[in-house]
Protein backbone atom coordinates (compact mmCIF):
# COMPACT_ATOMS: atom_id res chain seq x y z
CA UNK A 1 0.00 0.00 0.00
CA UNK A 2 1.39 3.39 -0.95
CA UNK A 3 2.34 5.73 1.83
CA UNK A 4 -0.05 8.71 2.03
CA UNK A 5 1.98 11.78 1.43
CA UNK A 6 0.99 15.02 3.05
CA UNK A 7 -1.12 16.94 0.52
CA UNK A 8 -1.62 20.64 0.93
CA UNK A 9 -4.60 20.94 -1.43
CA UNK A 10 -6.46 18.23 0.44
CA UNK A 11 -5.71 19.86 3.77
CA UNK A 12 -6.91 23.26 2.58
CA UNK A 13 -10.06 21.72 1.11
CA UNK A 14 -10.74 19.87 4.34
CA UNK A 15 -10.35 23.03 6.40
CA UNK A 16 -12.65 25.02 4.10
CA UNK A 17 -15.26 22.29 4.23
CA UNK A 18 -15.07 22.19 8.00
CA UNK A 19 -15.48 25.97 8.19
CA UNK A 20 -18.55 25.97 5.93
CA UNK A 21 -20.19 23.04 7.64
CA UNK A 22 -19.33 24.60 10.96
CA UNK A 23 -21.04 27.87 10.07
CA UNK A 24 -24.16 26.05 8.94
CA UNK A 25 -24.27 24.05 12.16
CA UNK A 26 -23.61 27.16 14.21
CA UNK A 27 -26.56 28.96 12.67
CA UNK A 28 -28.88 25.99 12.89
CA UNK A 29 -27.67 25.21 16.36
CA UNK A 30 -28.22 28.76 17.55
CA UNK A 31 -31.74 28.79 16.20
CA UNK A 32 -32.57 25.38 17.57
CA UNK A 33 -31.11 26.24 20.98
CA UNK A 34 -33.18 29.34 21.48
CA UNK A 35 -36.23 28.23 19.57
CA UNK A 36 -36.92 24.63 20.38
CA UNK A 37 -38.32 25.25 23.80
CA UNK A 38 -41.13 27.24 22.35
CA UNK A 39 -42.13 24.69 19.76
CA UNK A 40 -45.38 22.95 20.47
CA UNK A 41 -48.46 21.86 18.65
CA UNK A 42 -50.17 25.00 19.93
CA UNK A 43 -47.41 27.10 18.45
CA UNK A 44 -47.87 25.59 15.04
CA UNK A 45 -51.63 25.54 14.88
CA UNK A 46 -52.99 28.65 16.54
CA UNK A 47 -52.94 32.32 15.85
CA UNK A 48 -50.83 34.87 17.77
CA UNK A 49 -52.24 36.56 20.89
CA UNK A 50 -51.41 39.43 23.17
CA UNK A 51 -49.34 41.52 20.84
CA UNK A 52 -47.23 38.63 19.53
CA UNK A 53 -46.06 37.59 22.96
CA UNK A 54 -48.18 34.47 23.15
CA UNK A 55 -50.02 32.06 20.93
CA UNK A 56 -48.88 30.53 17.71
CA UNK A 57 -47.90 31.35 14.15
CA UNK A 58 -50.21 29.22 12.14
CA UNK A 59 -51.45 32.07 9.95
CA UNK A 60 -47.86 32.82 8.97
CA UNK A 61 -47.23 29.18 8.05
CA UNK A 62 -50.42 29.11 6.01
CA UNK A 63 -49.53 32.35 4.28
CA UNK A 64 -46.00 31.22 3.43
CA UNK A 65 -47.13 27.94 1.93
CA UNK A 66 -49.93 29.61 -0.04
CA UNK A 67 -47.54 32.27 -1.30
CA UNK A 68 -44.89 29.80 -2.42
CA UNK A 69 -47.36 27.48 -4.14
CA UNK A 70 -48.95 30.38 -6.01
CA UNK A 71 -45.52 31.67 -7.04
CA UNK A 72 -44.54 28.24 -8.34
CA UNK A 73 -47.72 27.96 -10.42
CA UNK A 74 -46.88 31.33 -11.97
CA UNK A 75 -43.13 31.03 -12.50
CA UNK A 76 -42.69 27.45 -13.74
CA UNK A 77 -44.88 27.57 -16.87
CA UNK A 78 -43.57 30.96 -17.98
CA UNK A 79 -39.96 30.01 -17.23
CA UNK A 80 -40.20 26.64 -18.96
CA UNK A 81 -41.86 28.05 -22.08
CA UNK A 82 -39.22 30.78 -22.31
CA UNK A 83 -36.45 28.21 -21.92
CA UNK A 84 -38.00 25.99 -24.61
CA UNK A 85 -38.11 28.96 -26.93
CA UNK A 86 -34.50 29.90 -26.23
CA UNK A 87 -33.21 26.36 -26.48
CA UNK A 88 -35.20 24.85 -29.32
CA UNK A 89 -36.62 27.58 -31.52
CA UNK A 90 -34.61 30.76 -31.27
CA UNK A 91 -31.81 31.51 -33.69
CA UNK A 92 -28.80 32.46 -31.61
CA UNK A 93 -27.83 35.36 -33.83
CA UNK A 94 -31.20 37.06 -34.03
CA UNK A 95 -31.59 40.39 -32.17
CA UNK A 96 -34.71 39.12 -30.39
CA UNK A 97 -32.83 36.16 -28.93
CA UNK A 98 -29.98 38.32 -27.77
CA UNK A 99 -32.41 40.78 -26.20
CA UNK A 100 -34.19 38.02 -24.30
CA UNK A 101 -30.93 36.56 -23.00
CA UNK A 102 -29.73 40.00 -21.95
CA UNK A 103 -32.99 40.63 -20.14
CA UNK A 104 -32.78 37.30 -18.30
CA UNK A 105 -29.24 37.84 -17.09
CA UNK A 106 -29.97 41.40 -15.98
CA UNK A 107 -33.06 40.26 -14.16
CA UNK A 108 -30.92 37.83 -12.21
CA UNK A 109 -28.84 40.67 -10.84
CA UNK A 110 -31.58 42.96 -9.62
CA UNK A 111 -31.67 43.43 -5.81
CA UNK A 112 -34.76 41.99 -4.11
CA UNK A 113 -35.94 45.33 -2.75
CA UNK A 114 -36.15 46.67 -6.26
CA UNK A 115 -38.50 43.81 -7.10
CA UNK A 116 -40.61 44.89 -4.16
CA UNK A 117 -40.86 48.42 -5.48
CA UNK A 118 -41.57 47.10 -8.97
CA UNK A 119 -44.35 44.95 -7.57
CA UNK A 120 -45.82 47.96 -5.83
CA UNK A 121 -45.64 50.24 -8.82
CA UNK A 122 -46.51 47.85 -11.62
CA UNK A 123 -48.67 45.10 -10.17
CA UNK A 124 -50.53 46.96 -7.43
CA UNK A 125 -50.82 50.48 -8.70
CA UNK A 126 -50.97 49.84 -12.42
CA UNK A 127 -52.41 46.39 -13.03
CA UNK A 128 -54.41 46.27 -9.82
CA UNK A 129 -56.01 49.63 -10.49
CA UNK A 130 -56.71 48.59 -14.06
CA UNK A 131 -58.41 45.37 -12.97
CA UNK A 132 -60.51 47.18 -10.39
CA UNK A 133 -61.59 49.73 -12.95
CA UNK A 134 -62.44 47.16 -15.59
CA UNK A 135 -64.48 44.97 -13.29
CA UNK A 136 -65.92 47.83 -11.25
CA UNK A 137 -64.45 46.55 -8.02
CA UNK A 138 -63.98 48.60 -4.90
CA UNK A 139 -60.30 48.72 -4.00
CA UNK A 140 -59.79 44.98 -4.38
CA UNK A 141 -56.69 44.42 -6.47
CA UNK A 142 -55.39 47.93 -6.17
CA UNK A 143 -53.73 47.04 -2.86
CA UNK A 144 -51.11 44.65 -1.48
CA UNK A 145 -52.38 41.09 -1.66
CA UNK A 146 -51.46 37.43 -2.12
CA UNK A 147 -51.73 37.58 -5.90
CA UNK A 148 -49.31 40.44 -6.38
CA UNK A 149 -46.83 39.20 -3.82
CA UNK A 150 -46.75 35.84 -5.58
CA UNK A 151 -46.34 37.51 -8.98
CA UNK A 152 -43.51 39.67 -7.66
CA UNK A 153 -41.70 36.60 -6.34
CA UNK A 154 -42.37 34.86 -9.65
CA UNK A 155 -40.62 37.64 -11.54
CA UNK A 156 -37.73 37.45 -9.07
CA UNK A 157 -37.30 33.72 -9.64
CA UNK A 158 -37.84 33.71 -13.40
CA UNK A 159 -34.10 33.73 -14.29
CA UNK A 160 -33.42 30.72 -12.07
CA UNK A 161 -36.14 28.64 -13.68
CA UNK A 162 -35.22 29.72 -17.21
CA UNK A 163 -31.53 28.97 -16.83
CA UNK A 164 -31.91 25.59 -15.14
CA UNK A 165 -34.60 24.52 -17.59
CA UNK A 166 -32.45 25.49 -20.56
CA UNK A 167 -29.57 23.52 -19.08
CA UNK A 168 -31.83 20.52 -18.62
CA UNK A 169 -33.09 20.75 -22.20
CA UNK A 170 -29.57 20.98 -23.56
CA UNK A 171 -28.63 17.84 -21.64
CA UNK A 172 -31.09 15.74 -23.61
CA UNK A 173 -28.98 14.01 -26.31
CA UNK A 174 -29.44 15.15 -29.92
CA UNK A 175 -29.95 11.47 -30.82
CA UNK A 176 -33.47 11.52 -29.45
CA UNK A 177 -34.40 14.59 -31.45
CA UNK A 178 -33.02 13.01 -34.63
CA UNK A 179 -34.84 9.75 -33.98
CA UNK A 180 -38.11 11.52 -33.36
CA UNK A 181 -37.89 13.78 -36.42
CA UNK A 182 -36.89 10.86 -38.62
CA UNK A 183 -40.17 9.16 -37.64
CA UNK A 184 -42.18 12.05 -39.02
CA UNK A 185 -42.78 13.93 -35.77
CA UNK A 186 -42.96 17.70 -35.80
CA UNK A 187 -40.59 19.79 -33.72
CA UNK A 188 -43.25 20.50 -31.13
CA UNK A 189 -44.24 16.84 -30.85
CA UNK A 190 -40.59 15.99 -30.32
CA UNK A 191 -40.33 18.55 -27.53
CA UNK A 192 -43.57 17.56 -25.86
CA UNK A 193 -43.21 13.78 -26.10
CA UNK A 194 -39.48 13.18 -25.79
CA UNK A 195 -37.45 16.18 -24.67
CA UNK A 196 -39.60 17.68 -21.92
CA UNK A 197 -40.23 14.38 -20.13
CA UNK A 198 -36.52 13.67 -20.26
CA UNK A 199 -35.69 17.14 -18.93
CA UNK A 200 -38.27 17.04 -16.16
CA UNK A 201 -35.82 16.22 -13.33
CA UNK A 202 -33.69 19.22 -14.30
CA UNK A 203 -36.71 21.46 -14.54
CA UNK A 204 -37.73 20.38 -11.07
CA UNK A 205 -34.29 21.43 -9.84
CA UNK A 206 -35.05 24.92 -11.05
CA UNK A 207 -38.41 24.81 -9.33
CA UNK A 208 -36.75 23.66 -6.10
CA UNK A 209 -34.33 26.57 -6.20
CA UNK A 210 -37.18 28.96 -6.88
CA UNK A 211 -39.16 27.56 -3.96
CA UNK A 212 -36.23 27.98 -1.59
CA UNK A 213 -35.69 31.56 -2.60
CA UNK A 214 -39.38 32.32 -2.62
CA UNK A 215 -39.93 31.05 0.90
CA UNK A 216 -37.05 33.09 2.23
CA UNK A 217 -37.25 36.46 0.52
CA UNK A 218 -38.80 39.27 2.55
CA UNK A 219 -38.05 42.45 0.61
CA UNK A 220 -40.24 41.67 -2.40
CA UNK A 221 -43.28 40.92 -0.29
CA UNK A 222 -42.98 43.76 2.19
CA UNK A 223 -44.94 46.23 0.11
CA UNK A 224 -46.83 43.80 -2.02
CA UNK A 225 -48.87 41.73 0.35
CA UNK A 226 -47.37 40.66 3.65
CA UNK A 227 -48.92 41.99 6.86
CA UNK A 228 -47.77 41.74 10.44
CA UNK A 229 -51.04 40.85 12.03
CA UNK A 230 -54.30 39.78 10.48
CA UNK A 231 -57.21 38.43 12.48
CA UNK A 232 -58.24 36.11 9.63
CA UNK A 233 -56.64 33.76 7.14
CA UNK A 234 -56.48 34.85 3.50
CA UNK A 235 -59.27 33.23 1.53
CA UNK A 236 -59.00 35.06 -1.76
CA UNK A 237 -56.20 36.18 -4.02
CA UNK A 238 -56.98 39.74 -3.13
CA UNK A 239 -56.42 39.22 0.58
CA UNK A 240 -53.32 40.11 2.50
CA UNK A 241 -51.49 37.39 4.39
CA UNK A 242 -49.03 36.77 7.17
CA UNK A 243 -45.70 35.29 6.26
CA UNK A 244 -42.92 33.70 8.29
CA UNK A 245 -39.98 35.68 6.98
CA UNK A 246 -41.76 39.00 7.23
CA UNK A 247 -42.98 38.06 10.68
CA UNK A 248 -39.42 37.50 11.82
CA UNK A 249 -38.33 40.83 10.40
CA UNK A 250 -41.03 42.82 12.13
CA UNK A 251 -40.66 41.00 15.43
CA UNK A 252 -36.93 41.56 15.44
CA UNK A 253 -37.12 45.27 14.64
CA UNK A 254 -40.42 46.67 15.81
CA UNK A 255 -41.54 44.60 18.69
CA UNK A 256 -42.53 46.66 21.76
CA UNK A 257 -41.30 43.99 24.16
CA UNK A 258 -38.09 42.44 22.79
CA UNK A 259 -37.46 39.93 25.59
CA UNK A 260 -40.94 38.47 25.51
CA UNK A 261 -40.98 38.01 21.77
CA UNK A 262 -37.46 36.59 21.53
CA UNK A 263 -38.40 32.95 22.01
CA UNK A 264 -41.26 33.32 19.56
CA UNK A 265 -38.86 34.92 17.13
CA UNK A 266 -36.48 31.99 17.27
CA UNK A 267 -39.34 29.54 17.10
CA UNK A 268 -40.63 31.28 13.99
CA UNK A 269 -37.22 31.18 12.32
CA UNK A 270 -36.98 27.50 13.11
CA UNK A 271 -40.37 26.85 11.57
CA UNK A 272 -39.43 28.92 8.52
CA UNK A 273 -36.37 26.79 7.96
CA UNK A 274 -38.36 23.62 8.53
CA UNK A 275 -41.03 24.66 6.04
CA UNK A 276 -38.37 25.51 3.46
CA UNK A 277 -36.64 22.18 3.97
CA UNK A 278 -39.93 20.30 3.72
CA UNK A 279 -40.89 22.03 0.48
CA UNK A 280 -37.44 21.30 -0.91
CA UNK A 281 -37.47 17.69 0.24
CA UNK A 282 -40.79 16.92 -1.40
CA UNK A 283 -39.59 18.41 -4.67
CA UNK A 284 -36.31 16.49 -4.44
CA UNK A 285 -38.19 13.26 -3.72
CA UNK A 286 -40.42 13.85 -6.73
CA UNK A 287 -37.36 14.51 -8.87
CA UNK A 288 -35.62 11.29 -7.86
CA UNK A 289 -38.76 9.29 -8.60
CA UNK A 290 -38.80 10.80 -12.09
CA UNK A 291 -35.08 10.20 -12.55
CA UNK A 292 -35.46 6.53 -11.79
CA UNK A 293 -38.35 6.22 -14.16
CA UNK A 294 -36.35 7.56 -17.09
CA UNK A 295 -32.93 6.15 -16.36
CA UNK A 296 -33.46 2.70 -17.81
CA UNK A 297 -33.30 -0.41 -15.66
Amino acid sequence: MAKRRFSLPILVTAIMTAVIVGIVFAILGNIFWFGHAHLSWEFLSTAPREGMTAGGIFPAIFGTVALVLLMTVAVVPIGVVTAIYLSEYARETSPLTRAVRLAVSNLAGVPSIVFGLFGLGFFIQFMGAGIDRTFHLEFTFNQPCLLWAAMTLAVLNLPVVIVTTEEALKQVPEDYRHASLALGASKWQTIWRVILPQALPGILTGAILAVSRGAGEVAPIMFTGAAYYLPYLPHALSDQFMELGYHVYVMATQSPDVEATKPILYGTVFVLLAVTFLLNLSAIALRSVLRRRFAGT
Binding site: R91, P173, D175, Y176, H178, A179, S180, L181, A182, L183, G184, A185, S186, Q189, R193, V194, Q198, F294, A295, G296, T297
Partner: protein, 273 residues
Protein backbone atom coordinates in the same frame (compact mmCIF):
# COMPACT_ATOMS: atom_id res chain seq x y z
CA UNK B 1 -10.57 -8.88 -56.34
CA UNK B 2 -13.08 -9.75 -53.64
CA UNK B 3 -12.83 -13.42 -52.85
CA UNK B 4 -16.10 -15.20 -53.45
CA UNK B 5 -16.74 -18.17 -51.27
CA UNK B 6 -20.33 -18.62 -52.32
CA UNK B 7 -22.11 -16.06 -54.41
CA UNK B 8 -24.90 -14.65 -52.22
CA UNK B 9 -28.32 -14.80 -53.78
CA UNK B 10 -28.72 -11.04 -53.96
CA UNK B 11 -25.87 -10.70 -56.45
CA UNK B 12 -27.05 -13.48 -58.72
CA UNK B 13 -30.54 -12.15 -58.52
CA UNK B 14 -29.37 -8.67 -59.38
CA UNK B 15 -27.44 -9.74 -62.40
CA UNK B 16 -30.36 -11.77 -63.68
CA UNK B 17 -32.85 -9.02 -63.00
CA UNK B 18 -30.80 -6.45 -64.82
CA UNK B 19 -31.23 -8.35 -68.02
CA UNK B 20 -34.89 -9.12 -67.44
CA UNK B 21 -37.69 -6.86 -66.17
CA UNK B 22 -38.00 -3.05 -66.44
CA UNK B 23 -36.78 -1.39 -63.27
CA UNK B 24 -38.93 0.74 -60.95
CA UNK B 25 -36.90 3.59 -59.58
CA UNK B 26 -38.07 4.56 -56.10
CA UNK B 27 -35.67 7.42 -55.48
CA UNK B 28 -33.45 9.40 -57.77
CA UNK B 29 -30.73 11.97 -57.14
CA UNK B 30 -29.95 14.32 -60.01
CA UNK B 31 -26.77 16.39 -59.93
CA UNK B 32 -26.98 16.79 -56.19
CA UNK B 33 -24.41 18.98 -54.47
CA UNK B 34 -24.39 19.53 -50.71
CA UNK B 35 -22.52 22.42 -49.14
CA UNK B 36 -21.57 22.98 -45.52
CA UNK B 37 -21.07 26.72 -45.72
CA UNK B 38 -18.50 27.08 -48.49
CA UNK B 39 -17.27 23.48 -48.41
CA UNK B 40 -18.69 21.25 -51.13
CA UNK B 41 -19.21 17.94 -49.34
CA UNK B 42 -21.10 16.24 -52.18
CA UNK B 43 -20.16 17.14 -55.74
CA UNK B 44 -22.89 16.79 -58.37
CA UNK B 45 -23.89 13.24 -57.59
CA UNK B 46 -26.55 11.47 -59.67
CA UNK B 47 -27.80 8.03 -58.89
CA UNK B 48 -30.94 5.93 -58.89
CA UNK B 49 -32.24 3.75 -56.10
CA UNK B 50 -34.30 0.90 -57.42
CA UNK B 51 -37.45 -0.21 -55.62
CA UNK B 52 -37.22 -3.29 -53.42
CA UNK B 53 -33.49 -3.46 -53.80
CA UNK B 54 -30.63 -2.67 -51.48
CA UNK B 55 -28.35 0.13 -52.63
CA UNK B 56 -25.11 0.37 -50.69
CA UNK B 57 -22.93 3.47 -50.47
CA UNK B 58 -19.32 2.76 -49.63
CA UNK B 59 -16.19 4.84 -49.33
CA UNK B 60 -13.51 5.95 -46.86
CA UNK B 61 -14.31 8.11 -43.84
CA UNK B 62 -15.34 11.62 -44.67
CA UNK B 63 -16.18 10.91 -48.30
CA UNK B 64 -19.70 12.27 -47.90
CA UNK B 65 -21.79 9.11 -47.98
CA UNK B 66 -23.60 9.90 -44.72
CA UNK B 67 -24.20 13.47 -45.87
CA UNK B 68 -25.76 12.13 -49.06
CA UNK B 69 -27.92 9.73 -47.10
CA UNK B 70 -29.17 12.48 -44.85
CA UNK B 71 -30.08 14.57 -47.86
CA UNK B 72 -32.50 11.85 -48.91
CA UNK B 73 -34.82 12.44 -45.95
CA UNK B 74 -33.91 16.08 -45.45
CA UNK B 75 -32.23 15.50 -42.12
CA UNK B 76 -29.62 17.96 -43.34
CA UNK B 77 -32.29 20.64 -42.94
CA UNK B 78 -31.45 20.54 -39.24
CA UNK B 79 -27.98 21.88 -39.92
CA UNK B 80 -28.22 25.64 -40.49
CA UNK B 81 -25.09 25.95 -42.64
CA UNK B 82 -26.11 23.15 -44.96
CA UNK B 83 -27.22 24.03 -48.50
CA UNK B 84 -28.27 21.71 -51.25
CA UNK B 85 -28.31 22.05 -55.02
CA UNK B 86 -29.77 19.68 -57.57
CA UNK B 87 -32.91 17.63 -57.21
CA UNK B 88 -33.92 14.53 -55.34
CA UNK B 89 -37.05 12.64 -56.31
CA UNK B 90 -39.21 10.17 -54.41
CA UNK B 91 -41.55 8.38 -56.84
CA UNK B 92 -41.13 11.30 -59.17
CA UNK B 93 -41.84 14.03 -56.61
CA UNK B 94 -39.15 16.58 -55.83
CA UNK B 95 -38.60 16.28 -52.08
CA UNK B 96 -37.12 19.75 -51.78
CA UNK B 97 -40.11 21.36 -53.39
CA UNK B 98 -41.52 24.10 -51.09
CA UNK B 99 -44.92 22.38 -51.26
CA UNK B 100 -43.48 19.18 -49.87
CA UNK B 101 -44.20 18.71 -46.18
CA UNK B 102 -41.00 17.58 -44.53
CA UNK B 103 -42.89 15.79 -41.78
CA UNK B 104 -44.82 13.75 -44.37
CA UNK B 105 -41.63 13.02 -46.23
CA UNK B 106 -39.97 11.60 -43.16
CA UNK B 107 -42.93 9.33 -42.67
CA UNK B 108 -42.27 7.85 -46.07
CA UNK B 109 -38.50 7.66 -45.70
CA UNK B 110 -37.35 6.07 -42.46
CA UNK B 111 -33.87 6.23 -41.02
CA UNK B 112 -31.77 3.93 -38.87
CA UNK B 113 -28.83 5.64 -37.23
CA UNK B 114 -25.31 4.42 -36.59
CA UNK B 115 -25.70 4.54 -32.87
CA UNK B 116 -29.01 2.99 -31.89
CA UNK B 117 -31.20 5.65 -30.28
CA UNK B 118 -34.33 4.16 -28.77
CA UNK B 119 -36.26 6.57 -26.61
CA UNK B 120 -35.99 6.19 -22.83
CA UNK B 121 -39.46 4.68 -22.86
CA UNK B 122 -40.79 1.14 -22.85
CA UNK B 123 -40.33 -1.16 -25.84
CA UNK B 124 -44.00 -0.81 -26.67
CA UNK B 125 -43.98 2.98 -26.48
CA UNK B 126 -40.90 3.16 -28.68
CA UNK B 127 -42.47 1.23 -31.51
CA UNK B 128 -45.82 2.96 -31.02
CA UNK B 129 -44.19 6.42 -31.08
CA UNK B 130 -44.33 6.88 -34.85
CA UNK B 131 -47.97 5.78 -34.89
CA UNK B 132 -48.96 8.14 -32.10
CA UNK B 133 -47.28 11.21 -33.53
CA UNK B 134 -49.01 10.53 -36.83
CA UNK B 135 -52.37 10.60 -35.11
CA UNK B 136 -53.29 6.99 -34.52
CA UNK B 137 -55.45 6.56 -31.42
CA UNK B 138 -57.01 3.13 -31.72
CA UNK B 139 -55.31 1.12 -28.98
CA UNK B 140 -56.10 -2.21 -30.57
CA UNK B 141 -54.68 -1.18 -33.89
CA UNK B 142 -51.57 0.25 -32.29
CA UNK B 143 -50.94 -2.96 -30.36
CA UNK B 144 -51.43 -4.99 -33.52
CA UNK B 145 -48.99 -2.90 -35.53
CA UNK B 146 -46.42 -2.90 -32.73
CA UNK B 147 -46.47 -6.70 -32.65
CA UNK B 148 -46.26 -6.93 -36.41
CA UNK B 149 -43.33 -4.52 -36.57
CA UNK B 150 -41.43 -6.29 -33.83
CA UNK B 151 -41.93 -9.55 -35.69
CA UNK B 152 -40.75 -8.03 -38.95
CA UNK B 153 -37.64 -6.78 -37.21
CA UNK B 154 -36.97 -10.30 -35.93
CA UNK B 155 -37.04 -9.25 -32.31
CA UNK B 156 -40.54 -10.20 -31.22
CA UNK B 157 -39.55 -13.43 -29.50
CA UNK B 158 -36.96 -11.64 -27.39
CA UNK B 159 -39.20 -8.81 -26.20
CA UNK B 160 -42.76 -10.15 -26.29
CA UNK B 161 -42.79 -10.76 -22.53
CA UNK B 162 -41.02 -7.50 -21.77
CA UNK B 163 -42.95 -4.92 -23.75
CA UNK B 164 -43.12 -2.69 -20.69
CA UNK B 165 -39.45 -2.79 -20.00
CA UNK B 166 -37.36 0.29 -20.71
CA UNK B 167 -35.77 0.00 -24.15
CA UNK B 168 -32.39 1.08 -22.84
CA UNK B 169 -32.10 -2.04 -20.73
CA UNK B 170 -31.57 -4.24 -23.79
CA UNK B 171 -28.30 -5.02 -25.56
CA UNK B 172 -26.92 -2.88 -28.40
CA UNK B 173 -27.95 -5.34 -31.09
CA UNK B 174 -31.45 -5.64 -29.66
CA UNK B 175 -31.76 -1.86 -29.40
CA UNK B 176 -30.84 -1.48 -33.05
CA UNK B 177 -33.41 -4.05 -34.12
CA UNK B 178 -35.89 -2.22 -31.92
CA UNK B 179 -35.09 0.98 -33.82
CA UNK B 180 -35.73 -0.91 -37.04
CA UNK B 181 -39.09 -2.11 -35.70
CA UNK B 182 -39.87 1.47 -34.70
CA UNK B 183 -39.12 2.66 -38.23
CA UNK B 184 -41.14 -0.16 -39.81
CA UNK B 185 -44.24 0.64 -37.75
CA UNK B 186 -45.10 3.66 -39.86
CA UNK B 187 -44.79 1.68 -43.10
CA UNK B 188 -42.20 3.80 -44.90
CA UNK B 189 -41.45 3.24 -48.56
CA UNK B 190 -37.73 3.67 -48.22
CA UNK B 191 -35.47 2.81 -45.31
CA UNK B 192 -32.16 4.62 -44.99
CA UNK B 193 -29.53 2.95 -42.84
CA UNK B 194 -26.44 4.83 -41.75
CA UNK B 195 -23.86 2.19 -40.79
CA UNK B 196 -26.48 0.28 -38.80
CA UNK B 197 -24.19 -2.48 -37.61
CA UNK B 198 -20.91 -0.64 -37.14
CA UNK B 199 -21.35 -0.46 -33.37
CA UNK B 200 -22.39 -4.10 -33.02
CA UNK B 201 -20.71 -7.44 -32.49
CA UNK B 202 -20.48 -9.94 -35.37
CA UNK B 203 -23.47 -12.00 -34.32
CA UNK B 204 -25.74 -8.98 -34.04
CA UNK B 205 -24.33 -7.74 -37.32
CA UNK B 206 -25.22 -11.03 -38.99
CA UNK B 207 -28.76 -10.79 -37.59
CA UNK B 208 -29.12 -7.29 -39.00
CA UNK B 209 -27.84 -8.35 -42.39
CA UNK B 210 -30.31 -11.25 -42.48
CA UNK B 211 -32.99 -8.76 -41.59
CA UNK B 212 -32.03 -6.42 -44.42
CA UNK B 213 -32.29 -9.33 -46.80
CA UNK B 214 -35.83 -10.05 -45.62
CA UNK B 215 -36.87 -6.40 -45.52
CA UNK B 216 -36.03 -5.61 -49.10
CA UNK B 217 -38.95 -7.73 -50.22
CA UNK B 218 -41.24 -5.00 -48.96
CA UNK B 219 -39.07 -1.91 -48.72
CA UNK B 220 -36.42 -0.06 -50.67
CA UNK B 221 -33.22 0.13 -48.69
CA UNK B 222 -30.25 2.47 -48.94
CA UNK B 223 -27.40 1.57 -46.67
CA UNK B 224 -24.19 3.41 -45.91
CA UNK B 225 -21.40 1.16 -44.75
CA UNK B 226 -17.68 1.37 -44.33
CA UNK B 227 -17.55 -2.43 -44.32
CA UNK B 228 -17.00 -3.52 -47.90
CA UNK B 229 -17.68 -7.16 -47.20
CA UNK B 230 -21.03 -6.18 -45.75
CA UNK B 231 -21.85 -4.20 -48.89
CA UNK B 232 -20.87 -7.15 -51.02
CA UNK B 233 -22.97 -9.55 -48.96
CA UNK B 234 -26.09 -7.56 -48.62
CA UNK B 235 -26.59 -5.14 -51.51
CA UNK B 236 -27.84 -5.30 -55.08
CA UNK B 237 -26.27 -2.06 -56.20
CA UNK B 238 -23.23 -0.26 -54.82
CA UNK B 239 -21.99 3.29 -55.16
CA UNK B 240 -18.40 4.17 -54.33
CA UNK B 241 -17.90 7.68 -52.93
CA UNK B 242 -14.55 9.41 -52.68
CA UNK B 243 -14.08 12.97 -51.39
CA UNK B 244 -17.63 13.94 -52.29
CA UNK B 245 -17.59 12.41 -55.79
CA UNK B 246 -19.56 9.37 -56.84
CA UNK B 247 -16.69 7.56 -58.50
CA UNK B 248 -18.55 4.48 -59.62
CA UNK B 249 -22.04 3.02 -59.35
CA UNK B 250 -23.31 -0.32 -60.52
CA UNK B 251 -24.48 -3.81 -59.80
CA UNK B 252 -22.68 -4.93 -56.66
CA UNK B 253 -21.28 -8.08 -58.12
CA UNK B 254 -19.82 -6.21 -61.09
CA UNK B 255 -18.39 -3.39 -59.01
CA UNK B 256 -16.56 -5.76 -56.74
CA UNK B 257 -15.31 -8.19 -59.37
CA UNK B 258 -14.77 -5.93 -62.38
CA UNK B 259 -14.44 -2.33 -61.12
CA UNK B 260 -14.24 0.13 -63.98
CA UNK B 261 -12.38 2.91 -62.17
CA UNK B 262 -8.90 2.41 -60.82
CA UNK B 263 -9.77 4.30 -57.63
CA UNK B 264 -12.57 1.83 -56.97
CA UNK B 265 -10.22 -1.05 -57.49
CA UNK B 266 -7.65 0.50 -55.13
CA UNK B 267 -10.27 0.98 -52.46
CA UNK B 268 -11.79 -2.46 -52.60
CA UNK B 269 -8.45 -4.14 -52.61
CA UNK B 270 -7.50 -2.21 -49.54
CA UNK B 271 -4.77 -0.05 -50.97
CA UNK B 272 -6.22 2.91 -49.10
CA UNK B 273 -9.18 3.85 -46.93
Amino acid sequence: MVEEKAVPPSMVEATRLQEAAPRTIRMEARAVSVFYGKTEAIKKVSLEMEANKVTALIGPSGCGKSTFLRALNRMNDLIPTCQIQGRIFLDGRDIYDPDMDVVDLRRMIGMIFQKSNPFPKSVFENVAYGLRVNGMRDKGKIAEIVERSLKRAAIWEEVKDHLDRNALSFSGGQQQRLCIARALAIEPEVILMDEPASALDPISTAKIEELIFELKKKYTIVIVTHNMQQAARVSDYTGFFLLGDLVEFGVTHDLFTKPRDKRTEDYITGRFG
